[in-house]
């Protein structure tokens, strides 16, 4: 069974590696460059999130992350609900070499 993301912005594309905080910033694996949540017309690749790939993630990592909810998700059924609500789900984050400098000592 496939779950196909319908509204295809970068955010909805499986090859989009989002920034961990600003979801409209991301890295496009296909093009090898930073993108700013562009509409799909700019590229001809189509990416899908499948139930199979999702379940293999839960079997290996045990979690996916919802950028919209700013929270990890630990159960497959819940992840499906977030996807249905067009939340940005990921397990990978765009490399950010400067965020660490912006964090204070917090403990």
């Amino acid at each position: 069974m496939y779950y196909i993301v319908m509204n295809m912005n970068c955010e909805d594309c499986g090859r989009y590696i989002p920034h961990s905080v600003y979801k409209y910033i991301g890295f496009c694996e296909e093009q090898g460059k930073v993108v700013f949540n562009e509409p799909p017309t700019n590229c001809d690749t189509v990416s899908k999130t499948t139930m199979d790939s999702l379940s293999s993630v839960f079997g290996s990592l045990g979690w996916v992350y919802c950028i919209d909810c700013k929270a990890p998700i630990f159960e497959m059924e819940e992840a499906v609900k977030h996807i249905a609500s067009h939340h940005l789900i990921t397990t990978r984050f765009m490399y950010d070499s400067v965020a660490a400098e912006e964090v204070g000592a917090v403990s």
Binding site: S20, F74, G104
Partner: protein, 314 residues
């Protein structure tokens, strides 16, 4: 009424998980949720104890009793809890700085006692909550991005240290191999005695060396056909310890995951206590009745009987 079977989701609290997106800890709590569900752990009789640091929040994310203690002190808090109620299932989640830096004395002392509990060390090589300083697990010469200069202090070998301190179950797992971690946790809980799991866990914000990629390329699982860590006879203890220590120095290119040392023979601290206090396991300190209708259970006659050595009658 038959209690309803709890699922992994039931072991998750609704406290917002505010670890960094992609945090290596996600895999640790995910494995815990699953392990607890599979073990049918009673939330009131399971205690997750943590120290200070990112790992400290674990106690709030797991829907069992949680005790979030002080920096470096999770182990003595846990021992007070466990020794006064040995029926509890106690899981400690603490960082490498917590256990091997500020709390190292407690870490060694627990091994000497072999109290029946599980220590899960979040091994991410940095002090993340204070901006990524070097933790005791960071090797000399390494320079994660938060450090201005490469680390000039040597690292502790957690596995070798746990073995020589007396932990009777010593394992390593990786937060991104959730099944391996989950099974290791279950094994550690089932083990009678102090169990230690060194859990490799990338810090995605402060450590640009020990990333998911770094570990994914290096880790491999110890397999039963050529690795036997179990002590079957007391004469074997030293040899199995030496074997575990030698294996623990195998790092860098290949990092072994699995049980390094398992010794079911050494008595637990609880067993040592009940040997001299036979009622200990049946009525431990937390279950002792100390009053009857608001009065002490030691009446005047009993006082004289117990403390006759101090009493002089004129």
């Amino acid at each position: 009424m038959e209690p309803k079977q709890l699922t992994a989701a039931d072991y998750r609290t609704d406290v917002w998980n505010d670890w960094c997106p992609g945090c290596g800890n996600f895999g640790i709590v995910a494995a815990m949720y699953q392990a607890l569900a599979e073990m049918k752990a009673d939330p009131a009789e399971t205690v997750v104890i943590s120290g200070i640091g990112c790992s400290g929040k674990t106690a709030h994310f797991v829907n069992t009793t949680g005790v979030h203690t002080l920096h470096g002190r999770s182990l003595p808090f846990a021992q007070g809890i466990k020794l006064s109620n040995p029926a509890l299932n106690v899981l400690i989640n603490a960082g490498d700085g917590d256990l091997l830096g500020i709390g190292l004395g407690h870490f060694v002392a627990l091994g000497r006692r072999n109290v029946d509990l599980v220590v899960m060390m979040h091994d991410n090589t940095v002090y993340a909550l204070t901006k990524g300083q070097a933790a005791p697990t960071l090797h000399r010469g390494e320079k994660p991005k938060a450090l201005n200069e490469p680390n000039i202090q040597d690292s502790v070998n957690p596995i070798a240290l746990a073995v020589t301190s007396g932990y009777t179950f010593v394992a390593r797992s990786y937060s991104s191999r959730i099944n391996h971690l989950k099974e290791t946790i279950k094994q550690a809980v089932r083990h009678k005695g102090s169990a230690f799991i060194d859990i490799l866990q990338p810090c995605v914000t402060f450590d640009d060396i020990h990333t998911y990629d770094y570990y994914n390329k290096r880790v491999y699982e110890l397999k039963a056909d050529d690795w036997n860590p179990i002590v079957k006879d007391e004469n074997e203890i030293q040899q199995k310890m030496m074997q575990a220590i030698a294996k623990s120095f195998e790092v860098d290119d290949r990092i072994p995951l699995g049980v390094f040392y398992e010794n079911p023979l050494t008595p637990t601290f609880e067993e040592r206590l009940s040997e001299k206090l036979p009622s200990y396991l049946g009525t431990p300190p937390s279950r002792e009745k100390i009053e009857k209708n608001g009065k002490t259970i030691v009446d005047g006659d009993k006082f004289v009987e117990i403390f006759s050595q101090f009493i002089v009658e004129y």
